[in-house]
């Protein structure tokens, strides 16, 4: 909030004075997006925010001279109409959980959370959030693919749909569609503690809520704006109580002398709170990133100290040396298999 002293016209520029109270700095709206109901709902909800009309979201989102970290503090929302393609093949660096037809889709580009290790910092020029408003086009495209073969669809990879639920409830818009297409298995990955969706919708057999969990110390250090571990556990319990299928994602796992000591008590805590038998499966992955994204992040003026560590390059992916990974994974598996069968643990 601006602390404008009207008598002197002076602004407290050294305090948090100029930081806006709103969730978004401004809302950019594509000319073509105005006619969609989601646009109207968002503009009604945030009627106090400045609206700037744009021709195409890429005119704003793809500008080359954006400062990712400052924009993250003053995120803007861009409402846009997505063109084809609506579905992408699942990337090699992600688990497919045994599904041969693995796809992902992005209703949103970017995330409201601010994780220091996130590849999105290197993937996009902008920290602003693009929200696509033409949900029917997404449905048509997903339907065409899922009628041909059973599909595993990750809908919350480059973002957090449940974290964004109070802004645009995409999963509400798609719930009926997912219900009508049982051959489509949908994974909604989240770090959010928001329980509204689980409380207001009946669980479906083909929806999996995948909660990303980390030790509280890692959350505090690297997962800015995300809810604490306890809140996530609470959300997991609610989802399970409501009959939702729940996946636990231990991803990314870090290897360093400090982090190494955090995981054992973390696993103990998680499985003392959650009945492991009720969990669908567990995914496990070490910190990894494509070489290009890693390089782009290191060119920015600010980045997490994680990017100063030494890593290995293997098939264009930067991560820990394989021997470290094997040693640490063996140790982690020893603990995790106390709670879960090995067949239910997926790793890359």
């Amino acid at each position: 909030m601006n602390t404008l002293d009207k008598s002197s016209n002076k602004i407290d520029y050294k305090g948090e004075g100029f930081k806006t109270k709103n969730l978004f700095n401004v809302i950019y709206v594509e000319e073509a997006a105005f006619k969609y109901p989601i646009t109207k709902e968002v503009l009604d909800k945030y009627c106090n925010l400045q609206v700037i009309t744009i021709r195409h979201y890429k005119d704003v989102f793809n500008r080359t001279n954006q400062h990712f970290q400052i924009q993250k503090q003053y995120q803007s929302l861009i409402l846009a109409v997505k063109d084809k393609p609506f579905l992408y093949e699942g990337p090699q660096v992600c688990q497919n959980f045994g599904y041969p037809n693995f796809y992902y889709t992005s209703f949103l580009l970017n995330c409201i959370f601010d994780c220091g290790y996130c590849y999105l910092q290197g993937m996009y020029n902008s920290a602003n959030i693009v929200a696509f408003v033409n949900v029917e086009d997404f449905k048509n495209s997903i339907e065409q693919e899922s009628l041909k073969k059973p599909v595993f669809l990750a809908v919350s990879y480059d973002t957090d749909l449940i974290g964004f639920y109070n802004i645009i409830p995409y999963i509400d818009y798609f719930y009926g569609f997912f219900k009508m297409h049982p051959a489509l298995t949908v994974e909604i990955r989240t770090k959010s503690g928001n329980q509204s969706f689980y409380k207001t919708h009946t669980a479906l057999d083909n929806i999996v809520i995948a909660f990303t969990l980390s030790p509280q110390e890692i959350i505090e250090k690297y997962e800015k704006n995300t809810p604490p571990l306890k809140t996530r556990i609470k959300a997991i319990k609610t989802a399970l109580d409501q009959g939702f299928k729940v996946r636990i994602c231990l991803d990314p796992v870090f290897i360093n002398p400090v982090a190494d000591h955090l995981y054992e008590p973390f696993y103990e805590y998680v499985f003392s709170e959650i009945n492991a038998n009720k969990i669908l499966d567990l995914s496990f992955g070490f910190f990894r990133m494509s070489k290009e994204f890693f390089k782009r992040i290191k060119k920015q003026s600010e980045y997490s100290d994680l990017f100063l560590d030494e890593y290995c390059l293997n098939e264009n992916v930067i991560s820990y040396p394989k021997e470290y990974q094997n040693n640490i994974m063996t140790r982690h598996y020893q603990i995790l298999t106390n709670y879960m069968k090995k067949e239910k643990i997926f790793s890359l």
Partner: protein
């Protein structure tokens, strides 16, 4: 450094006075005024002149800001301050505006500065024309320089470092204005302009690129000369030093040995270069 571009002397005069800027007699192509942390250039009217002025300013005053070899002047800001016409009479003459979108009316191209400061100012879109606009039917704000500023700065500044501030001078009837009145429009807003500049400067400072201090910069220059490093080797060393600093390494202490080293050939320099890189890991 704060770079200010105005089209006319009547727009510049209140700023020159407020910040006690002195004319830089060494610059001939444009009128330039400066103090220790601000430079103002009077570009003349039109987007090509404003673009030329930006590039001219940067070529003269910003040598050495880019120690890391990037194309962005991350520690500076550039502000275009001037008058604009308004087709929208919802705002009074003399109102200071902050611009969130610039449209070049010749090319149809849009530019978007990231506006994170000046939240107490009305934030509007601006159309940049090549000649004065007199039609009263157009519900737009217009000027003649902003597109040139946006085009010229996008290679050198982040989107939040460029600020377009305009004061409404007329409702698209520019012929009725006198110089004294126009000057007073900027004068009356000078405190608001100053506050906004302070906000942007503070934000920029807060997110300033982690770089070398003066002592470290001198150190780098010395070893680059003594060890016959190429420009590329210098950039790599600077990057390594910045990373080492982020990890908390006392760089000058660790690299003290290299100050005494001297080489006779580039090959010898290369060996020490690798040794320095190892030490910084």
């Amino acid at each position: 450094m704060v770079f200010i571009v105005t089209a006319l002397m009547i727009e510049a005069a209140p700023i020159i006075e407020y910040y006690s800027l002195k004319k830089d007699m060494s610059v001939k192509a444009f009128q330039v005024y400066k103090n220790s942390d601000m430079v103002l250039i009077i570009s003349g009217v039109g987007k090509i002149k404003s673009a030329m002025a930006v590039v001219h300013l940067l070529s003269i005053y910003n040598k050495g800001s880019k120690m890391d070899g990037s194309d962005v002047y991350s520690n500076d800001i550039l502000v275009n301050i001037g008058l604009c016409g308004a087709g929208d009479s919802n705002y009074d003459i003399g109102r200071l505006l902050i611009i969130n979108k610039v449209t070049d009316m010749d090319t149809g191209r849009d530019y978007y500065p990231d506006v994170f400061c000046g939240k107490n100012l009305p934030s509007v879109s601006l159309c940049c024309y090549s000649r004065p606009i007199k039609s009263k039917d157009m519900k737009v704000f217009c000027d003649m320089e902003s597109a040139g500023i946006m085009e010229a700065t996008k290679k050198f500044f982040y989107a939040h470092q460029v600020l377009i501030l305009k004061v409404i001078s007329d409702y698209l009837a520019p012929e009725k204005l006198d110089k004294k009145f126009l000057k007073s429009l900027i004068e009356n807003n000078i405190t608001l302009i100053d506050n906004t500049l302070r906000e942007v400067k503070y934000l920029n400072e807060k997110f300033k690129k982690f770089s070398l201090n003066e002592e470290e910069s001198k150190f780098v220059e010395k070893i680059v000369k003594n060890l016959k490093f190429t420009d590329m080797m210098k950039q790599i060393i600077v990057k390594d030093i910045v990373n080492a600093k982020k990890k908390g390494t006392d760089v000058l202490n660790v690299l003290g040995f290299s100050l005494e080293s001297k080489v006779n050939s580039k090959l010898e320099g290369k060996k020490i270069f690798e040794h320095i890189r190892q030490k910084l890991k």
